[in-house]
Amino acid sequence: MTEPFQLQRRHFLKAAAGFAGASMLGVTPFRALAQATTFAPADRCFVFIYFGGGWDVLLGLDPRDPTVFTPERVSETRILPGYSLLSTDASFPETTVRPTQRPGGPIPAMEFGPAIGRLADHYDKLAVVRGIHMKTVAHEVGFRYFLTGKEPIGNAARGSSTATEIVGQMRPTVPVPSIAYGIESYNDRYPGYANALRVSRANDLILTLSPSPTNIDSEIEQQLVDLRGKTITCESELYDTRGLVGQYRQARSQMGTVLGNQLHKQFQLDFENNPMKDAAIDLRNDQRAAIRAQYNLPATGGVNYDSAAGRAALIAIALKQGISQCVSMNLVGGLDTHFGTQVAHATNQRSGWNALADLVDDLRKSAHPSGGTFLDHTTMLAFSEFSRTPLINGSGGRDHHISSSALLIGAGIKHNLVFGRAGDINMAPGVVDRKTGQPDPKGVNILPEDVIATVLASADLDYAITRTSPLEGLLSG
């Protein structure tokens, strides 16, 4: 842990070199420091993907064969896959999906539901955890439980978000260590550097990284920097013994670094005019075209980052450009379908899986500066707050169900693996052997903290905060 900290300080000092007199209270004279620093991608990255509203695992991660779980047996199984109800949209298969074996890849060891979309193609880089006991069917409790790996008190989150914990332990050298987009983030024990840049929409992220729309004279800006650097008094130090003001000062300092490096430009996918045929502009425009193509975004015109595909592209930019180490993203919503059709839920869920598939595809074919691909350096966790009932309700939808699944992808995780199992009656949370993930009457339930401990352990991080041990059978090391 010592070396990353030294690197971080060195990096910070480098970024700070442009503004004499700037202090922890200060803000960079932004224009003066523009383009001062370049950033290397973090050696280990993490992505937390949230499917908002409670996903139907029958349609995605934990399917059931509709020829076995038939309507005639429903009183016995309490499970109705309902795949035939997708027949109004021919793009959905009406049965489970077995991935096509990749050339040179392993034989697929899993099946998915009809809404899995293109993600099935990446079966060889992922592990599915099934039969997780969420202990709740309340939205806030479920997603806060998975975000922190700690069961909330009432509906109040406990502890830090896992992304905060990772950044707190690893102290990465990137300028915005953690981004939380459309999702909550908590920090209960780390200094301000571990706080996520938390936004509710893409435009706010870009605004945060962009220079202020109201310019002031750069010398006056410098005077303000100096003034803010001098305002620490004994009284203010006493006031800040709990660190809130320190966090704010750190945020202002981080703002200086972020703005000085014009990070907003990295997220701009609008093409620049290039009448002088500048090679650098050509290169940037080529990169923008490649991102648009990779994520099926419009080839020309404006890009809507507030779609699942746009959000996936945003994650890739943040990681590959060395802006962030952790990105927590509400990738897709509209899954809380108590009413309506199975097609509506399946369509929303599939848009999330397809966007995630494009991201995985991008990361697995992009070289990381430290060797291997970006996916070799990235661990991803996809989760939802709970799943939906295995039976369809009177309104044609499904209600909240206590058992769920999760998806782990990339570094530190065994691939092409199913771990755990939900029961064949009412998809009850299963009891499994923690080492193998196989059903075991003497085993235990898999809980969200087990999955979070596994994510932390996948990067050799301290998982003591989860008060459990990792699911060893999921770890590649």
């Binding site: 509906n155 996520a196 938390r198 509710s200 605004l207 966090q247």
Partner: protein
């Protein structure tokens, strides 16, 4: 029962009572210097605040960041105008919508710091601009203690700058600047004003001080 004498009596008394109530000025209480009431003998003894050394280095409740609603009204109260983007950015600043987000976030993070900087610049420079057009000093928001006829803001006398700085810090933080910190702010103002005059950006003189006050932790926490 004969009620007539009673009614007659009331007819006489009521106008007299009304005249007594409306006629004379009520006796105003005599002003007297503020003084603490002595504690009664049976008052329990006062326990001193715990020693910070024994309480993890702090006393009393933890400071909190202001909410979006508090920020909105603080800006309005201090400058008399509103930050045009505050509602648009409210969700990322931490406001709960009670549909998808049911808890107000008050983390003083990067997003809050950056957006507040943007908002302070917009509001403060607009306020300073309006002040420059106001000939009546008492109606100015950021420089009511500065002579209305001051042409060059970098040549204000020390006493006026100090007085105005104390006024502004009290207005923004509810706490006047004093001692060495006041000297620091006064000196900063002079440097800023000199540059603002030289660059012909007069509004940035008191405008920049307003930005510094509004982005100070004393404005954003309580």
């Amino acid at each position: 029962m004969n009620v007539r004498p009673t009614v007659n009596l009331l007819c006489v008394l009521l106008p007299l009572m009304a005249a007594a109530a409306c006629g004379g000025e009520p006796a105003a209480p005599k002003p007297r210097p503020a003084e603490l009431e002595p504690l009664p003998d049976d008052h329990p003894s006062i326990e001193p605040l715990p020693d910070p050394e024994l309480s993890g280095g702090h006393v009393g409740r933890a400071p909190r960041r202001i909410t979006v609603a508090q920020l909105k009204s603080s800006i309005e109260v201090t400058t008399g105008r509103q930050w045009s983007k505050i509602d648009e950015l409210a969700a990322s600043l931490g406001r709960a919508d009670y549909a998808l987000v049911n808890a107000e976030a008050t983390e003083p993070n990067l997003v809050f710091a950056k957006f507040l900087e943007d908002g302070a610049r917009e509001v403060c420079l607009a306020t300073a601009d309006a002040d420059l057009k106001e000939s009546d000093a008492s109606k100015r928001v950021l420089s009511p203690e500065v002579p209305a006829d001051a042409k060059d803001l970098s040549k204000l006398d020390d006493a006026s700058v100090r007085q105005n700085m104390v006024y502004l810090s009290t207005r923004f933080w509810g706490q006047p600047l004093d001692g060495g910190e006041l000297d620091t702010w006064v000196s900063a103002y002079k440097n800023i004003a000199t540059r603002a005059e030289a660059a012909k950006k007069k509004r940035e003189a008191w405008g920049a001080i307003c930005i510094a006050l509004m982005t100070d932790p004393r404005f954003t926490t309580y």
